[in-house]
Symmetry: C2
């Protein structure tokens, strides 16, 4: 298979962008991704593009991206896969180049969660990415459905609410130095535990915020990477995994089979394993979910997630720093953008340009879990071509 | 690039399926596609799948397809590109196989237009695939926005409302023998002209119906095609084209630049031209649109579309029969399914199995135009590997 290099990446700040529409956010992210290409970039080199958006707030997503970003002469497609949209969009960019059909592609993700359509509400938003016959009607929107998993996880594993609070504290600490993050302030375990309850076991500070934002990446074929940069980041692995859509059908609430499937596919494609990773961005939509991610991604054994957070191994300076960007928790979470923004953080880490630089990071991983824990995407990036 | 063969295709009937949800329609289409594989097919051979759906009525599309079709062990992504969704989903299946990442993929499309979400209305449906800031607010939903184009086309070209009525008459006639079609009855030019006005110049019988339905295709890599069939249909060309999203920005209302771009890309990839086509399914969402399609796809010169319908060249028995299935007009139009259902018709034609068989058809074309005429997809199929 033809190798694919990431040669530029960028993102808007994540936050409450009431003054900016998706038509503003997309070109902003694209401009930064293009400006980050070391040797300069002519936009007319772009041969195809993908737009990852979970819910359209402004109408026809692919057309809106093509028009607002000046990409009318190339094919633009919208890709949607619930909260795994961003990393799945990267996967599509990789396939497109590997196919030989295109040499240079643009992958963009964005969503406006703080401002739903004039014609819809946040409940419509939520209904769009879960089973409407059962789970949505039962109230299993994002906090509630993840709470089912984490409640059982806390019951079966040695992990406690304190451990999950430590995840939130770590990610807020990481986010302070990130100029793109939505919540740049530190919190304490005590504050997390005493915050108003959203849904047991998640207090307000265990939950990621609702965010507006966009992110973009430029991918090119291996044979032309040196036209654009002398320090490409190689997309070594892309994996997507599914699981049952209804919670009544989940076999084990303490693990996400979708994540395990996505990770397995991505590691196999990369020829790398969890012990080769030096930095990772994982989907901490709710703090306790990050503990399960550690296990599903192979960073530790089942039910040992608490050890990683307790020992500081997933903090900057630890063995495998996780969510150095601040994660969804502190950086924010506009779903279509999130996976691509994770790749942007890993891209910066592997090139030594990160705000929370992990010394010597050569391989990194980005991970999404979403769509009532029924889909996961894992991207593995490396400065080694492999 | 690795060649891609279509070895199976199928579809549900298109119509008002009030008794069937998308969870029913998808497995029905998949079952028929799989049953159409000559030498038998083991579903566990499928390595990846795409679901083209314009608007989700039941929640999380990719997960819902994976779960309802028993595809939990493979990656499933949702692809959306307004009314070009179906043929763009085929394009993604082709890229996926060409990349070398997968050898066998399933491409499915479906929509339930007659039954929108419990949380949405047909107006929400319409707003999702056009610019909400201007065009939607101005009332430019599907009939109105296409009417702007066709009104100008009828003004500038020699074509009349009679010519556009002849398109509707032809497609209804073709649809009578199609067991999958929604409207299996003949109409007359007089009836079309006297039908209640929807929006000038479209009477009720110039408009395609709203439909529920699904369609599916099995694509495989060239090196394993003979495991599945001795009469593969080769996907020779896939093209996607964009245009401005707002009608205020359209340069010429009498042509669809998106179609011209998509056709150009698809013909170039196929190494074939319009004169090589023996049969075509084009996007006759409104009767007059088919006349513009003839020109954009290169079947005749600009403003000569009327000659093709007048002379019978696009009827069964003519030079280039168009919409032998009945087209969107008589077969029906569930947008996510439409492009794949068009490919199913061409697949049947090229294998000599069609209900309206075109003698000696070796090459055929499927074409969508949608998303306020801002996107088009063209797929070229052939029994010659090329």
């Amino acid at each position: 298979m033809r190798r694919v290099a990431m040669v530029g990446a960028g993102m808007t700040t994540f936050g409450e962008h009431f003054g900016l529409g998706i038509k503003d956010l997309l070109p902003m992210a694209v401009s930064e991704a293009v400006a980050n290409v070391d040797k300069g970039f002519d936009r007319s080199d772009i041969e195809a593009a993908w737009f990852g958006e979970l819910v359209s707030t402004d109408g026809f997503p692919a057309g809106l991206m093509a028009d607002s970003c000046g990409l009318l002469d190339i094919p633009v497609s919208r890709l949607e896969n619930a909260c795994a949209t961003g990393n799945d969009a990267i996967r599509h960019g990789v396939m497109a180049i590997a196919s030989g059909m295109y040499d240079v592609v643009l992958v963009v993700g964005g969503d406006k969660v703080r401002e739903t359509s004039a014609r819809s509400t946040f409940w419509d938003w939520m209904s769009s990415n879960r089973d409407q016959a059962w789970d949505f009607a039962l109230g299993l929107v994002a906090p509630a459905n993840f709470a089912l998993h984490v409640s059982r996880y806390l019951y079966e594993s040695p992990a406690t609410r304190e451990h999950q609070a430590m995840v939130a504290v770590k990610n807020h600490k990481h986010g302070v130095s990130n100029p793109k993050a939505q919540m740049r302030f530190e919190i304490t375990v005590e504050k997390v535990l005493n915050a108003p309850m959203v849904v047991e076991p998640f207090g307000l500070l265990d939950c990621s915020p609702q965010s507006d934002g966009a992110a973009a990446a430029v991918l090119v074929a291996e044979n032309i990477a040196d036209r654009y940069t002398d320090r490409p980041v190689w997309v070594r692995g892309v994996g997507l995994g599914m699981d049952r859509i209804m919670h009544a059908h989940k076999g084990d609430m303490t693990s996400f089979p979708a994540s395990r499937r996505a990770a397995k596919a991505s590691y196999a494609m990369a020829g790398l394993g969890p012990n080769d990773m030096h930095v990772a961005e994982t989907h901490d939509c709710f703090s306790g979910v990050e503990l399960i991610n550690y296990e599903d991604l192979g960073f530790c054994d089942k039910f040992d997630g608490y050890k990683l957070i307790e020992s500081g191994e997933t903090t900057i300076g630890g063995r495998i720093p996780v969510n150095t960007s601040g994660g969804l928790k502190a950086k924010g979470h506009p779903p279509g953008a999130t996976g691509i923004a994770q790749c942007y953080e890993i891209f910066e880490q592997l090139r030594g340009d990160a705000h929370n630089q992990v010394d010597g990071a050569r391989n990194g991983l980005a991970h999404n879990i979403g769509g009532p824990t029924a889909v996961s995407a894992v991207t593995i990036l490396s400065i080694d071509k492999g």
